[in-house]
């Protein structure tokens, strides 16, 4: 929503482009190896992952422009690695606001300051703030420059059918309807996924009572990029407020609605202005401010039982809805996109058997369930669902004025990458390791002696070879020193090897590798599970 007198796309600081439907009609019905439905951040990331690995993609979106409003604003370090892998990183580094610290207040008194893991050797900060329309703009700039992506706006999928030989999407745009045949479909069409509905699938899980209004305001406000959480502030007695700094002097304010406030009443402009003004008084801002945009959400933990339905893979919000506390929605969606993107690319370019596609749903649904476990705890603290959880939350907040251990209960558990320990693509660990990322985990990214980071040398499946390693004759490995900080980060010694997946997760590691070990790990990534 925007203030009266301003249109849906009339932002104070961002110019929404308008995209036309495809005017060139020849070739619209040509068979596409992959169709991605939904050109939000997740769909564009999937399309870029495929295209950069040599696969032609048709990208459909029913809208005329980007999603409206700042929406998902927190991008985790692991997502910056995904943006790096798809060649879209630079504008994010140049524009997003990095942060490491969060502060929690109870009735105006600080009861917790948490710091996410960071250090001078890290390539990226643990978290960045950037409005979603910029996320989409920067991804779109990369999509528009990619010749293998055929993006079609104002193009809505109205029907879908599939069989053993492929799938056909019926697409409607303002110039007509047509059938688009394809081998694979990625459903990135969001929380209200039309494809999910066409397949008769439903999200399963829990809805929470807590509802929040999210409002963006523009103001000159002198506070660093530190996430603030206010419990029981004067502006929202009994409720919670979150405040984030974004680029362009835009501040995100999330405030919880009381049980007796209807969403319709709370969404009225005068109500939003009144609530925002009260929050700004709480944080000592007495200067001018402009209201930019607002929306409302409630916390849910919902997911499909299976993220695959035949030739369709669900990615992002079409597959799972998670509470915002801990910033896992966008970041897990990006991981979905990269996960299925590299696997499909390897299958379609003959580098892997289609058997590896079976690993997508267990890996990413496992990540969702892990998110649910953490997000449920965060949500219970932010919006306690029952008397018992309310009492314990209030007890923790009261104790936190004198006891640090109680304040730690207010830690929002920010998103951490999931470990695919049980995946069919992951080999069991070598017990000789005393340190380093375990099989399934995201790789470490130490600084190398030349000042670059390991991640800057990774593309596709990579074998890291420490010192003198027994390698198969046809494998080119990335050589690394057997001693020093890089070896220490991997718990490596002379002869150690790690096999990394294209998404930079560890597929296998061997303390003293043999050529047979490495061949076995590479074969598994190619779908040979024998």
């Amino acid at each position: 929503m925007r203030p009266a007198g301003r249109g849906e796309w009339d932002s104070l600081y961002f110019t929404y482009p308008r995209f036309d439907p495809p005017d060139q009609r020849d070739g619209l019905t040509d068979r596409a190896p992959v169709v991605v439905v939904g050109a939000g951040p997740i769909g564009m990331t999937a399309a870029l992952t495929l295209a950069r690995d040599g696969v032609r993609v048709v990208l459909l979106d029913r809208k005329t422009t980007f999603n409206d409003g700042s929406r998902a604003i927190c991008i985790a370090r692991s997502s910056f690695h995904i943006l790096d892998a798809i060649g879209a990183l630079d504008p994010f580094v140049q524009n997003a606001l990095g942060w490491t610290t969060g502060r929690t207040f109870h009735r105006g008194r600080q009861i917790l300051e948490f710091h996410m893991p960071d250090g001078p050797d890290e390539r990226f900060r643990p978290m960045y703030n950037l409005q979603q329309q910029y996320i989409e703009q920067f991804l779109w700039d990369a999509v528009a420059a990619e010749p293998l992506i055929d993006a079609r706006w104002q193009s809505e999928v109205t029907a879908f059918r599939q069989d053993d030989s492929g799938a056909v999407l019926t697409v409607r745009d303002p110039l007509g309807d047509y059938d688009l045949p394809t081998d694979w479909v990625l459903a990135a069409d969001g929380a209200r996924s039309a494809l999910r509905g066409m397949l008769g699938l439903r999200l399963q899980g829990a809805n929470y009572e807590g509802r929040y209004v999210i409002a963006d305001v523009r103001m000159a406000h002198d506070y660093p990029t530190i996430r603030r959480a206010l419990f029981d502030p004067a502006s929202r007695r009994g409720g919670t407020v979150l405040i984030h700094r974004q680029p362009q002097h835009i501040w995100r304010i999330d405030y919880q609605l009381r049980a007796d406030e209807t969403s319709d009443d709370a969404m009225r402009e005068d109500a939003v202005r009144q609530s925002v003004a009260a929050v700004l008084r709480d944080i000592g801002h007495d200067g001018a401010w402009d209201l930019e945009w607002w929306s409302v959400y409630s916390a849910n933990t919902l997911a499909l039982d299976d993220y695959r339905a035949g030739r369709v893979f669900f990615i992002g919000d079409s597959a799972h809805i998670v509470p915002i506390f801990g910033v896992r929605g966008l970041n897990n969606g990006l991981a979905d996109a990269q996960n299925i993107g590299w696997k499909l690319a390897h299958v379609l370019t003959g580098r892997a058997d289609a058997a590896i596609l079976h690993s997508y749903s267990p890996e990413r649904r496992g990540a969702t369930l892990d998110v649910f476990a953490n997000a449920t705890k965060s949500t219970r603290f932010m919006t306690p669902p029952t008397l018992g959880w309310t009492r314990m939350r209030d007890a923790a907040l009261s104790l936190a004025h004198r006891e640090d251990w109680a304040g730690a209960l207010a830690n929002p558990r920010q998103m951490t990458p999931y470990t695919y320990a049980d995946s069919a693509l992951t080999l069991p660990d070598d017990p000789a390791f005393a340190a380093g990322p375990k099989p399934g985990a995201l790789t470490a990214d130490p600084a190398l002696p030349d000042g670059s980071h390991l991640s800057q040398h990774l593309a596709g499946v990579v074998v890291l070879s420490f010192g003198q390693t027994d390698l198969p004759a046809d494998v080119v490995a990335l050589p690394l020193p057997a001693r020093g900080p890089v070896a220490d980060a991997f718990g490596a010694t002379d002869g150690t090897a790690y096999v990394l997946r294209p998404d930079r997760h560890v597929a296998a590691r061997f303390h003293r590798a043999t050529a047979h070990d490495i061949t076995r790990a590479l074969a598994r990534l190619a779908g040979d599970f024998g």
Partner: protein, 66 residues
């Protein structure tokens, strides 16, 4: 006690409060918490420490806005 264990205990007591109210109505909450505190204090077997923790629990019951 580790943070993880503290969280586990937090969850157990929250669930206990809800069960007490479900089984005995609104009064069940205070009775449950008093019983739990007494049983824990006896388990602690340290009256001086219990006195300190009573003082801690009495602190900040009402917090004025800053």
């Amino acid at each position: 006690m580790t943070h993880e264990t503290t969280e586990t205990v937090y969850d157990m007591i929250a669930t206990g409060i809800d069960t007490a109210v479900e089984n005995a109505g609104p009064d069940g909450e205070a009775l449950f918490l008093a019983k739990l505190a007494l049983a824990l204090a006896r388990d602690l077997n340290n009256p001086d420490r219990v006195a300190e923790l009573v003082d801690l629990a009495l602190s900040d019951l009402v917090i004025a806005d800053l």
